[in-house]
Amino acid sequence: MSDAGMTDGGMSGGIGFAAALAAWDAAAPAPARACGLEVADLLRGFHPDHRPGGMVSLVAGPNEGAPCPAQLAVLLQSDSLLEDVDLAGATILDADVLVLGGGGAGCVAALAAARAGARVLMATKLRMGDGNTVMAEGGIQAAIGAEDSLQRHFEDTLRAGHFAADKALVAALVGDGPDAIRWLIREGMSFDLADERQRMGGALLRKKPGGATAARLLSYRDFTGLELMRALREAVLLQPGITVLDGHPALELLTDDRGRCGGAALQDLGQRRLVLARAGATIMATGGAGRLHLAGFPTSNHYGATADGLVLAYRAGARLREMDSFQFHPTGIAWPPHLEGTLVSEAARSAGARLVNGQGERFVEELAPRDVVASAMLRELAEGRGIGRDGKLGLFLDTPSLEREQPGILAQRLQTLSHLAHRAGFDPAREPFLVRPTLHYQNGGMAIDTDGRSALPGLLAAGEVTGGLHGRNRMMGNALLELVVFGRRAGASAAADARQERPRNLGLNHLAGWRRGLVAAGLGLEAKGPLLFPPYGNVTPQDLRRRAA
């Protein structure tokens, strides 16, 4: 998890912590310095997606010729961990709908499918709820303000994503937004109110997310994802018709002789055996890829974010999009080292906290889109205006000035942030955070339609594993919205699809063609995937399979 950074020499050094602290203290509140670069040039020069040599072209599979980070390409173009013979004697489970992944999208999809009458099997690698959703802090977008509109949310999302998103998907996302909030309240999720006494007939507290033209971010304190996941977890546990399999990562999709997806082969980590889950429809909700540590960056993602779903879907024939676009959240912890990469929520900047360099200057509009803020920060670091502390390089997030301007805000509205500072060993009201960009989100993913269906019959998808909603940069608050809106859509579609189709002649039918393609492309069959756990997890899928034998 050491960070190579994006430039070799430029990242080292910076301004010493004590000198930077003095410069900050003398100048606070920090004066702004003009950027002096066009946004396009800033992104081209400093965003990690654009670093020289970072991308390769895929040479096999549905996206042949498309750019993709080199580390991810190895996994996407890898061979299966399974052979046909491995399926013999495996335990078989049957369901109408199989959901792979137990984070927010998986839970919403499972609930929607079960309430549409399907028998649902939800398989997850870790434990239900232990994903990126529960870690989400800032909030969820929905255009409910009188001055706001669905159209503004639609245009803001497209613009923030550099107009690379699928307009029909974005329209579905923002159009379902207010109803998604009502759905969450019905599931028992709380939201912050403008006036806590006005529970009936009052107004929701709204904040302005980076890149938005209106205050549209709804929240529950600064642990919105935890509040959402608590309600969803109880809902799933109590919903008749859902069976949850914790500790059951998918190793391969099952396909029939027409290439249709009919379930997945799961590894039961507890019993160390293979389980074949057969289903009329399968929903991929396996999340993102932060634990690949692309470009050597630390990550804010949970332990299991290793791109497993992308690898399985791609191999079975699903098309991906914008796989060369990742989000680096501006404010990950840079120091102390034991918390490196941990997120400091955008809620701090939304509330007015400024970013300050080693010379005591503001260098970017803090609520510009995330890719712009992160690139501006990486530029400061590369050009020697970063702040060095114990060999770690970062920039100040000025929480003391925020507390001076809005007394009490740290204790009342930014609890997670205050808790984090406490664990880092300092008082955020007196000392600023030292932060730097951290790998946060996979902007692209599986191509889907507005019903959540992928190009591969029988396979649907929801949540971070999908692409097309965020274009080349995601707005804060659209990830939680996406998992609710498309979890509901995919769950309902899967329940309907499962009524039409029963799986038959299932096996690893797609692998023969896949392997021919890999060999024809000169890649060989040595690389295996999915990864399941990051290298510092000290276990490979092959280890797990060997122990099973």
């Binding site: 232990d130 923002v174 009502r182 019905r186 007939g201 929701l204 109880e234 102390p336 000290n538």
Partner: protein, 223 residues
């Protein structure tokens, strides 16, 4: 996790029976990883302290009783003995249908019907000691049993679903699930924001169309 940390005398720990050494300042979870031990469960958010997966029993030298903690938040200390605690679900589900709770006059009856064990709390404080977030769990249980839903819900604001209180309760009250019941009831029965309801009415009346071809939905024309 990094090569540039300040050096210090290594700490000696025993973790799930493995004797291992850890650098000062690392969390118990980081100590496990740095020792090269395989990690396939009891892990989630890795340090944010919000998922409740990395539950451990911890005993310090000289202590008579082992306490509970989250391994991602607890710093390693010299001589600690640590053991992961598996996740196991409550003994029986306390089943309810949130959408069927329409009569708010009957809240005390409904809490008692779904969680009949709550009134049997024997005030042992086992749940309070088990909670890694310092929630006064027992007080929440007692408030909920008296029908004080809002007060009970407020106390469970910081719950991270580790379910250690469920494991600790000798009366099988399942405090974590009772706490979520009060929280969910609080939101589902009383949260009715007017601005949200107005926007939903407008959408249902067709007054919030989305124009896919509006000027703002395409890149600005290059100057």
């Amino acid at each position: 996790m990094s090569e540039t940390e300040p050096a210090g005398t290594p700490l000696r720990l025993v973790f799930n029976g493995h004797a291992l050494q850890a650098r000062p300042g690392v969390s118990l979870l980081q100590a496990w990883i740095a020792a090269g031990l395989p990690l396939t469960e009891n892990v989630g958010c890795m340090g944010q302290g919000v998922c409740g997966a990395c539950r451990v029993l911890v005993r310090r030298p000289g202590e008579r009783i082992a306490g509970t903690a989250l391994a991602c938040e607890m710093p390693a200390e010299e001589g600690m003995q640590i053991s992961f605690i598996d996740h196991f679900p409550a003994r029986r589900p306390h089943a309810y249908d949130l959408s069927a709770l329409t009569d708010s006059w009957s809240i005390p009856d409904q809490i008692d019907a779904v969680f009949p064990e709550a009134k049997h709390c024997r005030h042992c404080s086992g749940c309070d000691r088990a909670c890694p977030k310092g929630i006064p769990v027992q007080r929440m249980v007692n408030l909920a049993a008296e029908g004080q839903v809002f007060a009970a819900a407020a106390l469970f604001d910081a719950c991270v679903m580790c379910n250690l209180c469920v494991a600790a309760c000798p009366e099988h009250i399942d405090p974590a699930h009772l706490g979520q019941f009060t929280r969910r009831m609080h939101a589902a029965l009383t949260l009715r924001p007017a601005d949200l309801m107005q926007r939903l009415r407008q959408i249902e009346a067709g007054e919030q169309p989305i124009d896919l071809d509006a000027p703002g939905a395409s890149p600005p024309v290059q100057r």
